[in-house]
């Protein structure tokens, strides 16, 4: 039960979200600027949201080797989907709420990772077959 809970926490990207919030704080400090928790919160939300989405999309690949994480993703798929969408939207809202340029940067980040996750070769190949 405990392992299942930990696997859910891991699959939801909370740990990687905290890590990226940490990177934002480190950048803050190294640039000799006052620590902004707003930045940390934006990156926590966006990274958690995108990481969970990536886990859900690549679930089939992960399942190639059966382990507690791939089985947790399969079991809690809808919960993770809601979490992913909510966190991504929260991140976008917080960024746009602060500044238009920051919102656009966040959208750019999401597009970048969408491009990373999508298998372009497969899509092009599929279209070729349809024609």
């Amino acid at each position: 039960m405990m392992n299942r809970l930990l696997a859910l926490i891991f699959s939801s990207g909370i740990i990687v979200g905290l890590s990226m919030a940490g990177l934002a704080i480190i950048t803050n400090v190294l640039l000799s600027e006052p620590v902004s928790l707003h930045l940390a919160l934006v990156w926590f939300s966006i990274t958690s949201g995108l990481y969970t989405a990536n886990r859900l999309i690549e679930g089939d690949k992960d399942a190639a080797v059966d382990n507690i994480i791939s089985s947790t993703v399969a079991t809690y798929r809808s919960l993770l989907l809601i979490f992913s969408v909510s966190m991504s939207l929260l991140g976008i809202f917080l960024a746009f709420n602060e500044k238009l340029e920051l919102g656009l940067l966040i959208v750019l980040t999401i597009l970048y990772f969408a491009l990373y996750t999508t298998d372009l070769k497969k899509i092009v190949f599929k279209k070729g077959v349809d024609v």
């Binding site: 905290l18 990226m20 940490g22 480190i26 640039l31 990156w43 080797v65 382990n67 340029e101």
Partner: protein, 158 residues
Amino acid sequence: MKDYLGVKSLMVGIGLSFVVLYTGTYFQTINLIALILLCLRTVLNEAMNTIIYDMKDLEADRINGVDTFPLVLGIQKTKYMLHFINGVVAIITLAGFFIRAFSPSCLGLLISLPYFAFLIEYLVHEPYRKGHLLLQYTLLDGTYVVMVPFVLLLANYF
């Protein structure tokens, strides 16, 4: 595209370095050298992270037919490469300190040197490679969670 050797690691690294760019933009920083060094450091650090993941997930990548450094170069050569990248990351941090681009608290980031050296060796060690999965993923995904206290501690000290 990410199925090509090294592209996946580089893409993840570049994507996560957006955190640094975003923070620089937020503060409208004029310290561009610090920003560039930090971005470079982040790209290498995150690329290293994904390669360590690949060392753990050899079976899944073999089944999915993905070319990764551990599959192409072998575990031992990949470990040497990772130790080299780890050294370069430390050198970038020190360079930022000595040219005064970073504040002295950047020395807290040097904790990544022993931390990653441990991960590189620990995560491929056979008895551990398949066990302690959650601990391993937490250590790999939470790298900056470990570094933040050291940086903040030094920021308060200096």
